[in-house]
């Protein structure tokens, strides 16, 4: 599904150059539930942005669904994003003057689906996430958890192959965080690859594979079987903290 080969990325900050990703090799299979962890500045958001075609990489190669993602025009990238990827953000990023249903329907608008059809579909997805009664509410009338669920519905509506979530629980309390994670798990259960960036160990522990970044390199990858051990270490870390 996703194959990253020696990805390098640096940002130019004025006169100095910040080398953020220093050669990332990563394979993610269809249907995996992956979390990317790391301290701030380790490059986890940059990696997610490259995966989501929001940002270019300098060196290496990125294959998505056996397609090389490189040097695309903005138009092509936008279409591919629309088709392949659903985004969930920490700050929800709903459009403030559109109600829940319209927000969810937006990706279909860019796809050229007619109004009636996309609103019906948006209602379907809202219903799946238990938000049907809130369809006509504006984002500022909803709680954080509700907003994030709207955002997830919006990410799902274009039936993407991958959901990319940047700190999806970062702005939520623990209970709501767990609810959101449950939803993401369900989505993953339906066969969609879910990749989240988080710095919370308990959130990461709910995924099947944890990719730890450190200074722009992959420090370790903890897989399914080893997650128990990870949980163990994590608890120990908590205790010592």
């Amino acid at each position: 599904m996703i194959t990253l080969n020696n990805i390098h990325k640096s940002y130019v900050m004025g006169s100095s150059k910040l080398h953020v990703l220093k050669g990332i090799d990563l394979d993610i299979e269809q249907g995996e539930f992956v979390s990317i962890m790391g301290s701030s500045g380790s490059g986890k958001s940059t990696l997610l942005n490259i995966l989501g075609m929001l940002d270019n990489y300098d060196d290496g190669s990125y294959h998505l669904d056996n397609r090389l993602i490189a040097d695309m025009s903005e138009k092509k990238a936008a279409q591919l994003r629309n088709e392949m990827v659903g985004f969930v953000f920490q700050s929800f990023n709903l459009i403030s003057f559109k109600n829940a249903m319209e927000n969810v329907a937006l990706p279909l608008y860019y796809k050229g689906v007619n109004r009636k059809k996309r609103n019906t579909m948006a209602m379907e997805y809202l219903e799946k996430l238990g938000l049907a009664p809130w369809a006509n509410h504006m984002p500022n009338e909803m709680s954080g958890g509700q907003k994030q669920r709207v955002a997830i519905a919006r990410a799902l509506i274009s039936q993407p192959k991958i959901i990319l979530a940047d700190e999806p629980t970062g702005a939520l309390d623990t209970t709501t965080s767990y609810e959101v994670m449950e939803i993401l798990k369900e989505i993953n259960g339906a066969g969609i690859t879910v990749i989240i960036v988080t710095h919370e160990h308990d959130i990461a522990a709910m995924t099947q594979k944890v990719v730890r970044l450190k200074d722009g390199r992959i420090d370790e990858i903890i897989r399914n079987g080893e997650l128990k051990a990870f949980r163990h270490t994590y608890t120990k870390e908590l205790e010592t903290a």
């Binding site: 138009k75 659903g86 003057f97 319209e102 860019y110 109004r115």
Partner: protein, 420 residues
Amino acid sequence: MLDLDLWKEILSALKQNRMRSFMTAFGVFWGIFMLIIMSGAGRALENGVLEGVKAFATNSAFFWTERTSIPYEGFQRGRRWIYDNQDIEYIRQNVKEIEYLSPRLFGWQQGGDNTVRGERTGSFNIFGDYPDYFKIDGWTPVKGRLMNEIDVRQKRKVCVIGERVEEMMFAKDEDPIGQYLKISGVYFQVVGVIHPETRINIGGGKKEETIIIPFSTMQTAYNYGDEIHFFSVTADKGTSVSELEEKLKRILKERHKIAPDDMQAIGSFNIEAEFKKFSMLFFGIQALTWIVGIGTLMAGVIGVSNIMLVIIKERTQEIGIQRAIGATPGKIMLHIIAESVFLTVMAGYVGLSLGVGLLEVLNQILLRAGDEMFFRNPEVNLTMALSALAVLVFSGAFAGFIPARRAIKIKPIDALRDEG
């Protein structure tokens, strides 16, 4: 593409900042408003002036005599000379390009009343004319008739009078037709009351205070002999009256022994040249209107562009979201340009309507004021309105273009990171 969602977004974006949208729109509004008002006023002046001259033959030229300025064939400079009846035949034989030729005598009296009827007296401008004169400078009979060929041939003592003459010399309920006026000691029967169709005034005085009598009668009755004071001619179709003017001056100089290079001896002017001056003036007014109007409009448009830049800046994050979920740069660009065009066109439309409305009110006031004004029918024609609209749409798109370019230059990732 331009569906309901787009309009909703545009409206909500503008609504979020009512005051700012209003102020911005006002710039455009004012620009187009001024353009319309100025253009309408310019047009009104043009209409007013053209209305005043439209019944005047545009292919006409006029000649009178002045003192010579160059000695020639034994005559000294400063000689007084005058046209005579033979000139008419001479011109007819030698210049074939003439349509109408009308000699005139000026019968103005210095000071004092020249016209008497019972106890009423008045001082009027007396002209001796041929009927052809009415074909050059249009008059319409309000009562009775105009002068005709028979009046001239039989040297009838008849006259046609201006409306002001009727007013002064006759009581309100009196019918002037068939009555007599004593003009400089000779009785003339009134056969018509006439109304001037043009404002071009040849020979001075108010046109309404004119009395016209047959040319031949005037020569005989007042001892003018075979003198002619003034010629009016019109050129045949296809002949330039300016050329005709030159030709006539040449042969008249020849006949009256005036140096060919004497520029002062014959006074003349032709309406064609005057019309050209007028059209240049009106062209100038319209051009100036557009320059100033477009300038004002540009200021408004730059305002719109500026405000769009601010809007883009405020909505950076929103644009980032839209692009992350699949909006192509083209769509974003279309959206911003549409918003700008919408703002411009709406403001422009209001300006256009108010401008046209004000002109209409002005028109009504002017209509009530009568036809004494050199200002008539302030109007905006369809071409004008359509071109203003085209300018608006174009400038709206232009105003949106730079901000739109900037918006799509922002990388979606930067836009999303902008948490302001």
